[in-house]
């Protein structure tokens, strides 16, 4: 057998499984999203669905009398304007590459454009919960990803030594990663409990009143972010350790001769050499955490008042509790587009020449 047919034969099992369990369900999902499709009703009567075109998307994302304004949502759009200006400034001064600048600018324009839609007079969203839920998910991602990246990088730098104690510590820090979300959330629910939790006990010993983390709107999101950072530190740390071990010792030795050690060496040698690892970690984490579900579902049940309601949990509730599979699929397609665009960004950056 020549190489090409052999390659196909070897790939076939993977392609078959991939097509059956990923490609087919994906297109099926899109198909369902174009229907009024009740989960239970269709199970009992396959004809109980009806084709509605893009109705589900409209019902989920649009509303009555929706208007666009340049400053309808000052916070979101303001950040967008800042992003665009920063992208232009950074690119002109040559501090970032063209691709990074374009990426930043695109994000900025997205924030300005999408953030500008709001119900005009007498108008309202058809689904009042969808966009706030998207907002919560974005907030969760934007808190978790820097949190995981920074703490994993600091840990990796600190643990990047070949002693027995360090390898024990590395294992310990990685251990949380292997736990399931049910265990993680159980552990942290106990930690956060205002009655028997470790945090409450410490606060009380110090003379404070315990915070009801999971039911206080100011702290609920922070609580699930903290639990998530603790949980997903491991993989990021391992990636950083691999990145760190790739940096040649010679660089540090040469720098040491020039009296550049410690924090300065980290700033001028470690960070620049870790750039690709950082990008990889950040994008992997973004894609991963957009799919957050368990933490919100189990720790706060999306509350209080929906402040921790996230996209996947809303999809789950719409599909299973409310049986509205068509609507849920439309939201899932929306989530796919978001995650897909980050994958594309990663692909582009990955191909970028040094």
């Amino acid at each position: 057998m020549t190489q090409t047919p052999a390659a196909w034969v070897l790939l076939l099992p993977f392609l078959a499984v991939y097509a059956l369990f990923l490609v087919y369900p994906f297109f099926r999902g899109i198909w369902i999203s174009l229907h009024d499709w009740n989960l239970l009703a269709v199970a009992f009567n396959p004809d109980a669905k009806s084709f509605v075109g893009f109705e589900n998307y409209v019902r989920v994302m649009w509303g009555r009398n929706i208007e666009w304004g340049p400053l309808s949502r000052p916070l979101v759009q303001g950040a967008g304007y800042l992003g665009v200006i920063a992208a232009a400034g950074l690119h002109l001064t040559g501090r970032v590459t063209r691709v990074t600048a374009i990426g930043l600018a695109v994000l900025g324009f997205l924030a300005i454009g999408l953030g500008g839609f709001a119900p005009g007079e007498g108008g309202r969203w058809y689904d009042r919960r969808f966009w706030p839920t998207v907002g919560n998910t974005v907030l969760f991602v934007s808190l978790t990803v820097p949190g995981v990246t920074l703490s994993a990088m600091i840990l990796a730098a600190a643990l990047n030594r070949e002693t027995r104690a360090m390898s024990v510590l590395r294992t310990l820090f990685f251990l949380s990663q292997v736990l399931s979300v049910t265990v993680v959330t159980l552990v942290w629910q106990i930690m956060f409990s205002p009655r028997q939790g470790l945090i409450a006990n410490i606060t009380q010993t110090l003379g404070g009143t315990p915070i009801t983390w999971l039911t206080d709107e100011r702290f609920a999101m922070a609580a699930i972010v903290i639990a998530t950072i603790w949980w997903s530190l491991g993989i990021a740390m391992i990636l950083f350790l691999a990145g760190l071990q790739d940096i040649s010792r010679d660089l540090y030795e040469a720098a040491a001769l020039d009296n550049c050690t410690g924090a300065r060496a980290f700033r001028h040698i470690t960070l620049p050499n870790l750039k690709r690892t950082i990008t990889l970690v950040v994008i992997l984490q973004i894609i991963l955490h957009f799919q957050v579900f368990g933490q919100s579902h189990l720790m706060t049940q999306g509350g209080p008042n929906d402040t921790t309601q996230v996209l996947v949990r809303y999809i789950y509730q719409t599909g299973f509790r409310d049986s509205e599979l068509g609507r849920a699929s439309a939201m899932a397609v929306f989530l796919f587009v978001i995650m897909g665009s980050f994958s594309v960004i990663q692909f582009i950056i990955g191909r970028e020449k040094k």
């Binding site: 989960l39 239970l40 009992f44 039911t215 049940q301 509350g303 008042n305 509790r321």
Partner: protein, 426 residues
């Protein structure tokens, strides 16, 4: 010797394997390891139901019952998924409030003509229970209880606040009195008057619903949402006045509010009938601060008595009856067994559904039973709806917004009105 043992073992396995008809069973109520088969001594919902199921497995000849692993919070999602994939359990528990969604699609077997032969007498069921399991004139489930919200009381705190007369608690009869009692408790003991899960599980919703019904109002009638009303404002204010005056804490969830009550930090806990035997057992323990426990009817703060109620019942999927008569017959036997053990289930604190049980001495002698005899008469629920879960969720979110995030009552009611109307229109 060895040969004999293995031989007998193999023969037994073969024999039971050939004879036993497997019935798969789906339920919530939580897990109970080592429930045993003694249905008379188990304590708490999870252990009592599991001991009844274990006993059914052991005692019904030719039937083995296999309890599927399900989890409370996602129970209905799991059950729906099993129906959607064509593999529902042979029998499963559900609430009355969830019956319309399934029954309207023909998901449940029509049991009407098979009950007598299985040894279940529907004429023995109380009227409300029979109504609860009847869909379009046909019986589609076997009722197990009627459960409702009670006021669980710490009589020591009530006594200290001067709210006990002749060994009975003095309960408020108006929102003003509620505030006054709460002040008395705070002044006399420094403790909260009332605790409940206002933060996650919809106990707060059920409290507000009861106060709505007490004014003759409801959240919807027919296809029309009726939430944004004077009555709703009055019901909500009756509760928020306690939060505003610092006499109750809205941030406790189910576990924490229960713990607060058991720790002797609150005079009243609003919770269901399902915990009466558990609190009774806890009060008897030395290490629990709660010593003197009393289970009272939900008080009437407005013009008529009302408390939130629902009902647990067991159904068999229509597909089992249509395609698998042996399993259907076996499942009916299990239902009959559960029906026969109605008195054991009532030990939880739930109200029994069989007249023969209700009239019996054993039922009357159950702990605290005499303290909440009016509950059966004031028990109510929202009108039947296929969107019960989503509607309850809307109310839960908007009420939480009021007491946890300070959303103005008028805004919350208007939003709830819109959203529930949306759900009714779909």
């Amino acid at each position: 010797m060895k040969r004999i043992i293995f031989g007998t073992l193999a023969a037994t396995l073969l024999a039971t394997g050939a004879m036993a008809q497997e019935v798969t069973l789906g339920r919530f109520f939580g897990a109970c390891e080592d429930a045993g088969t003694d249905t008379r001594t188990s304590v708490g919902e999870a252990c009592i139901i599991q001991s009844i199921i274990n006993a059914a497995d052991a005692e019904i000849e030719g039937v083995s019952v296999n309890t599927l692993p399900t989890d409370w919070g996602n129970y209905y999602d799991q059950i729906k998924a099993t129906y959607a994939s064509g593999t529902p359990p042979s029998i499963h528990v559900l609430h009355r409030s969830s019956l319309p969604e399934f029954a309207s699609l023909g998901a449940f077997a029509d049991l009407t003509d098979d009950l007598d032969a299985a040894g279940i007498d529907p004429a023995d069921w109380v009227e409300t229970a029979r109504e609860a399991v009847t869909h379009e004139g046909r019986i589609v489930a076997v009722p197990m209880d009627l459960h409702a919200n009670l006021w669980h009381l710490n009589m020591d705190i009530m006594e200290e606040a001067g709210l006990v007369a002749d060994g009975k608690p003095i309960l408020p009869s108006s929102p003003e009195e509620l505030l006054e009692h709460a002040r008395k408790v705070k002044e006399a003991t420094g403790k909260d008057y009332l605790a409940a899960d206002f933060a996650q599980f919809p106990i707060g919703v059920r409290l507000v619903l009861a106060l709505l019904w007490q004014q003759g109002s409801n959240i919807f009638e027919g296809d029309e949402a009726t939430i944004d009303t004077e009555e709703a404002r009055a019901a909500i204010t009756a509760i928020t006045q306690l939060f505003d005056a610092g006499l109750a804490n809205p941030q406790l969830n189910y576990a924490d509010s229960q713990q607060a009550f058991l720790n002797g930090e609150a005079a009243v806990l609003v919770n269901g009938t399902w915990v009466v035997d558990f609190y009774d057992a806890e009060a008897a323990k030395e290490e629990t601060a709660l010593d003197s426990y009393y289970a009272a009817d939900f008080p009437t703060l407005f013009s008529e008595g009302a408390t939130w109620a629902d009902s647990h019942m067991w159904a068999i999927p229509a597909s089992v009856k249509a395609n698998d008569p042996e399993t259907y017959q076996a499942a009916l036997k299990v239902l009959a067994f559960i029906n026969d053990h109605n008195i054991d289930w009532a030990r939880t604190g739930h109200m029994a559904v069989r007249n023969s049980v209700l009239e019996g001495e054993e039922y009357a002698n159950l702990p605290h039973r005499s303290e909440y005899t009016a509950t059966a008469d004031i028990a109510r629920d929202t009108p039947a709806s296929q969107r019960y879960g989503a509607i309850q969720d809307v109310l839960n979110r908007e009420l939480q917004a009021i007491w946890l995030t300070g959303k103005p009552v008028a805004d919350a009611l208007l939003d709830a009105q819109y959203e529930v109307q949306d759900l009714l229109d779909r």
